[in-house]
């Protein structure tokens, strides 16, 4: 039965925790994680103390004073101001301490260091895109240098998303119509999970990504290569470059003809040069202009029977990348097979 996991294996996983992490918290991949975990365990031990105290007293009283046949109840007071004030003051002092500790940790999170490496982040259903200063654009995978503060300037093109990296203990909502900021520093190269933590619709659980931390001395080369990758493709080979951009489209558009939120690219490819019916009953010719317009201003031409959900990609794609996508759809047959697998 594949439905249920192998319980012993899973118990072993839980006991060890995830890679580098513990029973409660995932691995600590940023200096802030260290601070947050100290506060977490401080509150945890206070909580354990009070929980054990309360439950132990409750169990003790229930056993000791359980109802017995013919036993008279012992008299006891129905109030005691000194006692009651005491158990008001002690929790009060404790929560003031917890508040202060939590505030101090939080201030450390929001104070941005100088000289941070800056990345513009756009959340849109259902992927993340990252724009670097040198023009490199990444999707669902953010490459940053190890050991250097990184500052994210984030906005959304549609609904509210939330940028969450558990291993860094960081989260910030990504809101349409304004910028929100987040900064982190990851000393160790590696891959860290990124989640969208604010419910954003159908594929919310697939709006995930990877933060790829690379050694600082290699970062410059890697990011330069990422900025100029499309120039490595000759004009006649642009359709293949389009395939590399396709992951940004795949949450809504398939290559095999099946239907998701948007029309399949297979369908658009099949209709190349022909008419397509829009939701207001008018028709449009499927050509370079149609595809370009669908990318830059999608709401202007909604295909009949499809929802108006696609956000604009204006400014997120370079001119040559738009051309690559046009070529990709036009020459779909030459690049992928019927089920959408690349043809070598």
């Amino acid at each position: 039965m594949t439905f249920l996991p192998s319980i012993p294996n899973l118990l072993a996983t839980a006991a060890e925790g995830p890679v580098g992490g513990g029973f409660w918290m995932p691995r600590q991949a940023s200096p802030i994680a260290d601070v947050v975990d100290d506060i977490f365990f401080f509150i945890l031990w206070i909580s354990v103390f009070f929980f054990v105290l309360i439950v132990a007293l409750m169990v003790l009283f229930v056993i000791k004073y359980r109802r017995r046949e013919g036993q008279e109840r012992q008299p006891s007071a129905s109030h005691n101001t000194v006692l009651e004030v005491t158990w008001t003051i002690i929790p009060l002092i404790l929560v003031i301490i917890i508040f202060y500790v939590g505030l101090r940790g939080y201030v450390g999170m929001v104070q941005e260091p100088l000289n941070a490496y800056e990345v513009w982040v756009t959340g849109q259903r259902w992927f993340w895109s990252f724009e670097h200063a040198n023009g490199a654009v990444q999707s669902d995978r953010l490459t940053v240098p190890a050991g250097r503060p990184v500052k994210l300037k984030m906005t959304s093109t549609d609904v509210i998303h939330s940028f969450y990296i558990p291993d860094f203990r960081l989260k910030k909502d990504v809101v349409p119509g304004r910028y929100t900021y987040l900064w982190f520093e990851a000393p160790e190269p590696g891959q860290y999970q990124l989640f969208c933590a604010e419910y954003c619709g159908a594929q919310h659980s697939q709006m995930t990504g990877i933060i790829e931390v690379v050694p600082a001395d290699q970062f410059e080369d890697i990011i330069t290569q990422k900025a100029n990758w499309i120039d490595d493709y000759a004009d006649e080979d642009l359709a293949r470059a389009g395939l590399r951009l396709y992951p940004r489209c795949q949450s809504c558009h398939t290559l095999d003809g099946s239907r998701l939120q948007g029309p399949s690219f297979r369908e658009t490819h099949r209709l190349w040069g022909q008419q397509r019916v829009l939701d207001d009953g008018s028709e449009v010719t499927v050509d370079e202009n149609y595809v370009r317009n669908s990318i830059i201003n999608p709401a202007s031409q909604i295909v009949m029977n499809y929802p108006n959900v696609m956000p604009t990609f204006q400014g997120q794609l370079k001119e040559r990348e738009v051309r690559a996508l046009i070529e990709f759809i036009r020459k779909l047959d030459e690049v992928v097979d019927e089920s959408g697998n690349p043809i070598e």
Partner: protein
Amino acid sequence: MSMLTADHPGPQSNYLTHSRGILSWLFTLDHKRIGVMYLISILASFFVGGVLALLVRTELIAPGETIMGQDTYNRTFTMHGAIMIFLVIIPSIPAALGNFVLPIMLGAKDVAFPRLNLTSYWLWVLGAIFAVTSMVMGGVDTGWTFYAPYSTEEARTGVVYVTVGAFILGFSSIFTGLNFIVTIHRLRPRGMTWFRMPLFLWSLYATSIIQILATPVLGITLLLLIVERVFQVGIFDPALGGDPVLYQHFFWFYSHPAVYIMILPAMGIISELISIHSHKHIFGYRFIAYSSIAIALFGFLVWGHHMFTSGQSAVVNAIFSAITFSVSIPSAIKVFNWLATLYKGSISLNTPMLYALSFIFIFTIGGLTGLFLGTLATDIHLHDTYFVVAHFHYVMMGSALIAMIGGMHHWWPKITGKMYSEVMGRLAWALVFVGFNVAFFSQFMLGSQGMPRRYHDYSDTVGNWLPEKTELFHLYHVISSIGSYVMAIGFFLILFYLLHSIFKGRRAPANPWGGRSLEWQCASPPPHNNFDTPPAVGDCYDYSVLEWDAEEGGYHWREDVPHPNGEET
């Protein structure tokens, strides 16, 4: 004293037999019958919400699609949340048990406005039908929070109808609160001073204050949402020039106090149950009474703690974090006072008491885990993860609903005039208690390890999941789902033996537990008028005047103590 006429049947007559026919129920002005109708309707909604919860848990038992696709899943958890909050937990204790018990406990014949009370019930029915049909037909998938601008998008037409439903339900809640406040102010009999009122009434009073002050804000918010949708006026949607974070402020300004609409009456029930089943005077009456009012007032000032990651300024975050901690103090006072009530008591471990004790256990966990969420540094990590899901289920389900179930068992003999099986009661309690903790404690680890809430899938074969996360989340999801099934068995058992008791149960005595508050001086079930003459009021937690009568299977007034009414009961 009894006058046997056609209008006033013999002493055997009670509110159930007072008049007959379905219409005598549907248009009744009797608070007891309205309470019973609420109880049945709310339990039916709880059944629907519970089945949806089981579907959610089953979908999550394995990574990938298990029994439903992502769209169905999103609709299912939305309906689960909306039904459980708006149709079950918010009205459960005040409208069902409160309606039945409040006037009798107070010594009144009915609530102040019986017609308004019936209106509340029918508004609830109307709102429920509106909300549920539009969720089913319109495929609403916004989550119960209806966050803009997701909820204001064109594709989601169902949202307008659901919000109309929630708007109507809000009025039902406001009318009930208004009715209770006036009843407590105006209909107390001679001798029933504020500080002689049972603590359940204090908590219902505090709850009613929140209901009439906070619910209109929800109404206004939902109206603005509808105005934006229908007339394209920019209020929350940035595409029209609105501000989506403003919606969150409005929404939580109601919905955080609403948490106290859920938990305050539950605390009131626990104060009654702990004292009566320990046969000991409640400890620190005034501190408990004042703490209810304190929670009601502080509860209005903490809404911003739902928005620590929303982008609101660090200073605002710090202020809301500080005020949030102030709410924990009155809650802690209550827990310690309940413990002190147990001390040197004479504790009967019957079913209502088991629920009361498990409330202390669960509420302590629910309250303490709130500390992690009120603390800024840790909340940033835990916000919108399963840690929050676990926390609010510990408070809203494990505490508020468990207290409601406990209270239902406590007043069942009074409501139905029948005793249920103690053995079955304890067995079902054990299943619910164990199942609950297995289902929801595992979610604390799930959340602290980083699993976001409202995720349909956690499979590493789709998207960009690291396999290590999938493997760990799978473990806790399996444990959680198993717990939910155990709990479900417990709830079905309760349904079974309570129904059985109505038909086959032993006749209940007037006072099976030894309660001193006025409802235990009425017959079980109470007569139509509750009291023919205003009852004499004493200290409702002084049990020394009662003694056990083995023959009757209940308690009665000690013969050597003069009854305050100067007559025998």
